[in-house]
């Protein structure tokens, strides 16, 4: 028996303080991120432009010109999208780890990633879903992700009630089949350029952020996050397993279904706007768990804010690290995230809670 103690948040006051800090950190990050980029624009001018757009303040020349476009049409929507993509990925990662009862689960497990890839492949290489307009690839990927996830759920319910193990196994099987379909399309495809854009898509990017199209994603992620913040009791019970949960008055099967419908909608929307950004949904919940403990009452809200901050800065790095052009954010997150993750895993104090 070891008496390993970790720094933990005790009491409501400490938790509220941390939440306030994270909220302040997020606001500061957004404010700063808008001012950072290849084209140097003074902060004061950046915020006069935003003020002009929001409240009609300042001279009318603020409403046009290249600086206006960079701030209002590119950086701000991109940063706002980063906030909600980071939030969505982290919260869904957290929920997936509970649903799968497995600390290695991430938002793309259970068929989501290969379903999304299949959708994107069909759209880019076969021209499926051209009717969806300029973001047809995103919409197809979203549908693929949602569809694959629902299929995983349906399969895991065969031959009795679904549980986390059956879900994971069904996820692996569906992923294999979906990947086989995408590979077939790629294999017989002559369109080199299409294959290249597919590869780029799979690295994820926030560059496509536009005020007009991202509203639905923001709403879905915000509503989903708010909902999961209230679900801590059931999420906690999920970690104890079906047998214990029933004796504590909760039939998990129904909740898992409901949660999966909501998480795949959230992830579908995220994929639609930003492609696939790996690692965030695995990394952020684990980092936060070190501070918050396993209790979802603190974990979910802290994850949502920490994930948002993380992705805002990852995007700032992605668009400013190269002299010309930008590094896909997925590459950056994995490059920085993986070593950090390893360091975290192999430190003694943290073992995913699997015994100290």
């Amino acid at each position: 028996m070891s008496s390993a103690r970790r720094p933990r948040l005790r009491g409501k006051l400490a938790f509220s303080a941390v939440m306030l800090l994270l909220l302040a950190g997020l606001l500061a990050s957004v404010v700063l991120a808008v001012g950072i980029g290849k084209v140097p624009i003074p902060f004061a001018r950046a915020y006069r432009i935003i003020g002009h757009e929001l409240f009609g303040t300042g001279e009318s020349s603020l409403g046009s010109g290249s600086e206006h476009d960079i701030i209002w049409q590119i950086r701000l929507p991109r940063t706002i999208l980063a906030v909600f993509v980071g939030m969505g990925l982290s919260v869904v990662g957290c929920v997936m780890q509970a649903i799968c009862k497995n600390p290695m689960a991430d938002p793309y497990i259970l068929g989501v990633s290969s379903g999304a890839t299949l959708g994107a492949t069909a759209s880019i290489l076969l021209g499926v879903g051209a009717a969806f307009g300029s973001n047809a690839t995103g919409v197809c990927a979203c549908l693929g992700a949602f569809g694959a996830n629902m299929l995983v759920q349906a399969i895991s319910g065969i031959g009795g009630r679904a549980n986390s193990t059956k879900l994971i196994l069904a996820g692996i099987a569906v992923s294999a089949v979906a990947a086989a379909f995408s590979d077939t399309i790629v294999y017989f495809c002559q369109d080199k350029q299409g294959i290249q854009s597919l590869t780029f898509w799979s690295m994820g990017s926030l560059a496509g952020a536009k005020w007009g199209s991202m509203g639905a994603a923001i709403l879905t992620v915000a509503a989903g996050t708010a909902f999961f913040c209230t679900q801590y009791r059931t999420l906690n019970l999920m970690l104890l397993g079906d047998e214990t949960a029933v004796t504590l008055g909760t039939d998990l099967c129904r909740w898992r279904t409901a949660y999966l419908v909501l998480t795949s909608a959230m992830i579908g929307m995220v994929v639609c706007e930003a492609g696939m950004i790996g690692f965030v949904g695995l990394l952020v919940p684990h980092i936060v768990r070190m501070l918050s403990g396993t209790d979802h009452r603190r974990l979910v809200p802290m994850c949502s804010l920490a994930g948002a901050i993380f992705l805002v800065w990852a995007d700032v790095a992605a668009r400013s690290v190269l002299k010309s052009g930008e590094l896909p954010i997925g590459i950056l997150v994995s490059l920085i995230g993986a070593p950090f993750f390893l360091w975290l895993v192999f430190r003694k104090a943290y073992s995913f809670g699997g015994g100290a």
Binding site: S2, R8, R233, T247, L248, G249, G353, A356
Partner: protein, 259 residues
């Protein structure tokens, strides 16, 4: 009161329960005894709703258990099961607070009252100073006591114990059953240790091959003959020197003793 009527269940090809009828009575400790594979745990799992019986019924206060929602039945009976392997680390207090969940509506937060009840439950099992320790850093016995505290925090009239004294040293075995006895619960308890059954149970059922082989007050049901028939072991039941209880001594194969 918990009652089973002609309970039957198959698991795979094997018929594990072959028509088991028993009654818990009110506010007494009813022991369920029998060798490995006799169906003790399966029976209890049917009662605490992890397994669905193929035939017969479980009645809770005279009403069919099937007609209760999971939440309703969790307000009537709490469970301490054999094994709980948690992959994530919760604090002890967080685990005990989960015992309050059947009393909660979906969005209802934990109140000061819930914390008071959880603290009391921890005190009852002597674990109050462990409140902020990680559950996974505790020994098996300590974990078992925390799970009993969680069951106590449920504040139910009935308690189901599935070999609750596994992993516990003798002091905590006695402490645990003393704590259960103090609570004045209606208890249904699967036990391996016949001596504990003789000390603590008000009534026992002996299971063999998925059927009730015998029943009665422990002094009457646990005898040299019944132990030989049910467990296939030679034993003797003797009175305690200075109380109205008895205890069992066993004879290994190569030792002389009663036939």
């Amino acid at each position: 009161m918990i009652e089973t009527k002609e309970l039957r269940i198959r698991l795979g090809a094997a018929e594990i329960l072959r028509g088991v009828s028993l009654q818990s009575g009110e506010r007494r400790i009813v022991g369920i005894l029998g060798p490995n594979g006799s169906g003790k745990s399966t029976l209890l799992k049917c009662v605490y709703r992890v397994l669905k019986p193929d035939g017969g019924a479980v009645l809770l206060d005279g009403r069919e258990l099937r007609t209760y929602t999971a939440k309703q039945s969790a307000r009537e009976m709490a469970v301490v099961a054999q094994h709980n392997n948690y992959n994530f680390e919760f604090e002890v207090l967080e685990v005990v607070l989960m015992g309050r969940s059947p009393h909660k509506k979906a969005l209802e937060p934990d109140t000061a009252e819930d914390y008071r009840i959880a603290g009391e439950a921890l005190g009852e099992v002597g674990m109050r100073e462990f409140a902020h320790r990680g559950f996974n850093t505790l020994s098996g016995g300590e974990q078992q006591r925390v799970l009993l505290a969680r069951a106590l925090a449920q504040r139910t009239p009935c308690l189901i114990l599935d070999e609750p004294t596994n992993h516990l040293d003798i002091r905590f075995q006695l402490q645990m059953l003393d704590a259960v006895k103090r609570q004045n619960f209606t208890v249904l308890c699967a036990l391996h240790d016949l001596n504990l059954a003789l000390l603590y149970c008000d009534y026992v059922y002996l299971l063999k091959d998925g059927q009730v082989w015998g029943q009665g007050a422990p002094q009457e049901a646990i005898t040299a003959e019944s132990i030989r028939e049910v467990y296939g072991v030679r034993a003797e039941v003797r009175p305690y020197p200075d109380m109205e209880k008895s205890y069992v001594i066993y004879y290994p194969e190569d030792r002389p003793g009663p036939k």
